[in-house]
């Protein structure tokens, strides 16, 4: 869904209207499968409703559109997950041979052949994919080749750790970005603003790997303030969360800053100021709420990249999460495990994006579903 601004008429455009009169009630709208939802009273009044003209009884049409939108998004999401899983399946099967990686180096050729046969690797690829899909739809992603345990269970087992890290990183990002973004927008060109801009640039350019190790060297080895790795209490969470959250913090801060600067130039802000409102109220009560909307979208999207970036952070900090698991699984060509992990991650990302979109349209009344 693209965020639509005001005055986008295309959803009301004549090309897409289909008349569907219900017996005896010419003004009633109907949501059918193949037609767009439309308010027929609008049609009666004449086409080409201009911007700002609110159609009669928007609630009913709204919920009709919403239902349609939800179904379409659901369909898209399923397609995305299927597509991702198919691509990963074929790519990983074509790039390596787990038999070579999992058996001892001096296993005999017969042993390797026996292993491949037992795992079904001698079937043509499309047939292997078909078996995989059949079992996956029942929730069975097979046993991990290396660990000999159910793959899906292994991924789910490590999910809380990754989620903990990702959410903590997001928290860190927001705690840093929002105050800093607001402060630098409201004090443009000040020292604070310049420093914040530089920090923002640094945050987006620093490689996660380097940053993680530097933090360990400073705070664990030199200062002995925090543990260097592993998962435990809050003190174990601090360094990894900072490492993972830095990029998001920088992104959100810069977005917020530029959004706020834009908004602070708007007419309604000028009106609020001329009403005599204190600047603080202007910013926090009026400007910030609007500036936060694109931030919300970005945060939702960032969640996906945080889950991906967790791979490096988890490896550096020996954090027992899914990122680390999937990295090792790929190196070992542990097909069932890779598939299960990709599926779960895709599911989470698609769901979060979906929820973000819904939330956004709920919060911004100007936006309509397409």
């Amino acid at each position: 869904m693209s965020g639509r601004g005001p005055a986008d008429k295309s959803s009301f455009g004549p090309a897409r209207i289909v008349l569907e009169a219900s017996a005896g009630h010419p003004g009633v709208k109907r949501c059918t499968r193949r037609r767009t939802c439309v308010d027929l009273t609008l049609f009666q009044r004449g086409l080409g409703s201009g911007p700002g003209q609110i159609p009669a009884d928007p609630g009913e049409k709204g919920s009709c559109l919403l239902k349609r939108y939800l179904w379409r998004r659901l369909g898209h999401s399923i397609l995305v997950i299927l597509g991702v899983s198919a691509v990963v399946f074929f790519v990983i099967h074509l790039t390596g041979d787990p038999a070579a990686l999992l058996l001892p180096m001096d296993a005999s050729p017969e042993e390797v052949a026996r292993f491949r046969e037992a795992m079904g690797f001698n079937d043509p690829l499309y047939r292997q994919y078909w078996y995989f899909l059949k079992k996956a739809l029942r929730g069975d992603f097979g046993l991990s080749l290396r660990h000999q345990q159910p793959s899906l269970a292994m991924v789910v087992e490590r999910m809380p750790a990754t989620l903990e890290l990702t959410l903590a990183a997001l928290l860190v990002a927001l705690l840093v970005a929002i105050p800093l973004g607001v402060a630098s927008a409201s004090r443009r060109y000040s020292l604070l603003d310049n420093v914040a801009s530089v920090l923002g640039l640094l945050g987006q350019s620093m490689p996660v790997y380097w940053q993680g190790i530097m933090l360990i060297l400073i705070f664990s080895v030199s200062l002995r303030w925090l543990p260097a790795s592993g998962r435990g209490g809050f003190d174990h969470l601090i360094l990894p969360a900072i490492t993972l959250g830095t990029y998001s913090a920088a992104t959100v801060m810069r977005l917020l800053r530029s959004g706020l600067l834009e908004i602070l130039k708007q007419d309604y802000v000028r009106t609020a100021r001329s009403k005599g409102l204190n600047e603080r109220v202007v910013i926090y009560k009026h400007a910030l709420r609007n500036a936060l909307l694109p931030v919300l979208t970005v945060v939702g999207l960032q969640f996906g990249s945080l889950l991906g970036g967790a791979v490096i952070t988890e490896t550096v900090f020996a954090w027992p999460g899914v990122g680390r698991l999937i990295f090792q699984a790929i190196n070992n060509r542990d097909f069932p495990l890779v598939q299960a992990a990709v599926f779960i991650l895709a599911l989470i990302i698609v769901t979060v994006n979906f929820l973000t979109d819904i939330l956004y349209t709920y919060l911004d009344p100007r936006v309509r579903y397409s």
């Binding site: 070579a100 180096m105 050729p109 000999q148 997001l170 190790i213 435990g232 550096v316 027992p320």
Partner: protein, 508 residues
């Protein structure tokens, strides 16, 4: 929004496991084991079932929970473990006398039926054990009485004791009772440490078995933590949170040696690094003179000194001094670029030639760097080498599919410490990793693996090694030196077989 996030984080952190346990200081052992030691490897165990993996890090953890029949001492010589003695009754039959009075951690006694169960379980195709090929030579295992077992092999198999040294004995009754899946999560063995808990990818906690048949271990709690990133492992050692770390790169040795709480322990590895030649697809590498020229053209000592900072031992053949079959009279090729050029001229390449080389990246210590150095040195005698650096999974696939042409960098570690485990798969015609065909060598290798007479075997292998060296089947590089980081409060030294057997360790 921020509040919601914060609440979620708190909730999840509550479910977190803990490497946050406080470390006890090592109190002097008055009675019974005391103290805690943490060991950091690069990866976690995959299972607690000795039959269902073929990996060193997993084996290292299990080795503390279980015992093998035969074990190696620090000089890599075989000595009694759960077996008191072993001898051959004839060419294909071995009799093994078992130790009495040993108990598993649940109190049940160790007897011959556990040995039969363990070995047959690994050999059973339905078990799908990745270690199956280690025991393929065994035809049957028979119980003579409670403490005596007879093993019959399909053909004379001189390295059976070496193979048995790698297999850990599991309790037949317990495994049958709880099933494989449960056993893989909650193991019971005869070893010096009992399993306490396993938090996946975080830690394995073991506790001293005070009833251990050799006597209680000195250290009470042993924790294995998987820390994939080298720098993080080193940092943990420096903060004192971890006591032993594996795979320290040569450039960190100085830092650890000069640290207040840290030191370094090294051991000659069983692994040899070499550059193989594809000799059976024609081209320049099929000509022994070209291969010898390459050996003369590379300054291996300089590579060991500068790239590995001295952490390697020069080899003249695929074997190390610890391997049975080693021939001390075979010397490495001296560095002689002039001789290399002369040999190339004799072979018909006065103006040099072009070759390709494949190398992995990060699989072995400094593998890519060594390959690059070799390319540079060969260029100086007129051999232009195109280097392909490949990801390990892709590289192995290429090797096994026999798709290599030209030169290839590889490492080979053989924990049977017997020439057969190295020479046969790597150099006998038709074998999985072999790109070399020499009928004389084949005859020697086939004979040596099928007779029991040690003297004759040694003679065969020494002759084989001479052939391999003189025919320059490989570009011989070095034997690796494993570098471990150790806390100064721990009395422990590294072993050539990479085992982390905590029974040998003591807190100072």
């Amino acid at each position: 929004m921020v509040l919601v996030l914060a609440l979620l984080v708190v909730a999840l952190a509550g479910c977190g496991g803990g490497s946050g346990e406080k470390k006890e200081s090592g109190t002097p052992a008055k009675s019974g084991p005391s103290g805690q030691v943490v060991v950091a490897q690069g990866v976690d165990a995959t299972t607690m079932d000795p039959a269902m993996h073929a990996e060193t890090p997993t084996g290292n953890i299990q080795r503390n929970i279980f015992d093998p029949l035969i074990q190696r001492n620090r000089e890599m010589k075989l000595e009694p473990g759960l077996a008191l003695s072993w001898k051959t009754l004839d060419d294909r039959t071995w009799e093994i006398v078992l130790r009495q009075g040993v108990k598993f951690h649940d109190g049940t006694p160790f007897t011959a039926k556990d040995v039969k169960f363990t070995l047959e379980r690994i050999i059973n195709p339905d078990q799908k054990s990745p270690r199956r090929s280690n025991l393929e030579a065994i035809e049957k295992v028979e119980i003579v009485d409670d403490y005596k077992v007879k093993i019959t092999t399909k053909a004379p198999y001189p390295i059976l004791p070496a193979r048995l040294a790698d297999e850990l004995i599991v309790p037949a009754d317990y495994v049958k009772k709880v099933g494989d899946a449960e056993f893989a999560k909650k193991p019971i063995g005869t070893g010096p440490y009992k399993f306490v808990k396993w938090v996946k990818d975080d830690q394995v906690v073991l506790e001293a078995n005070t009833e251990y048949w050799r006597g209680a271990p000195a250290i009470k709690t042993v924790i294995f933590r998987p820390i994939p990133e080298t720098s993080t492992r080193i940092a943990e050692l420096q903060t004192g949170a971890v006591d032993i770390i594996v795979n320290v790169p040569p450039d960190q040795v100085q830092t650890l040696e000069s640290g207040a709480n840290t030191r370094v322990s090294t051991a000659p590895s069983a692994r040899v690094i070499f550059i193989g030649f594809v000799t059976n697809k024609g081209g320049p590498l099929a000509n022994p003179k070209v291969r010898q020229a390459i050996n003369y053209a590379v300054d291996v000592d300089s590579i060991i000194k500068n790239i590995l900072k001295g952490n390697g031992y020069r080899v003249a053949s695929p074997l190390t001094t610890a391997h049975f079959g080693y021939d001390p009279t075979v010397k490495p090729y001296p560095y002689d670029p002039a001789k290399a050029k002369a040999l190339l001229k004799e072979a018909g390449y006065p103006d040099g030639l072009e070759l390709t080389m494949d190398s992995p990246n990060g699989r072995y210590l400094m593998d890519k760097e060594i390959a690059e150095a070799v390319v540079g040195q060969l260029a100086q005698v007129g051999i232009k080498v195109k280097l392909n650096v490949l990801e390990w999974g892709v590289y192995v696939k290429k090797i096994m599919a026999k798709e290599l042409t030209g030169m290839y960098l590889l490492g080979w570690g053989n924990t049977t410490f017997d020439a057969d485990g190295t020479l046969y798969p790597l150099l006998r015609s038709g074998q999985r990793f072999s790109y070399y065909e020499n009928p004389k060598l084949d005859k020697l290798l086939d004979e040596a693996r099928s007779i029991i007479d040690e003297k004759k075997r040694l003679a065969d292998y020494q002759e084989a090694v001479k052939i391999i060296n003189q025919d320059a089947a490989w570009l011989f590089l070095h034997q690796q030196r494993d570098i471990y980081g150790v806390s100064k409060r721990l009395d422990w030294e590294a072993r050539p077989d990479e085992l982390l057997w905590m029974y040998e360790a003591k807190l100072k």
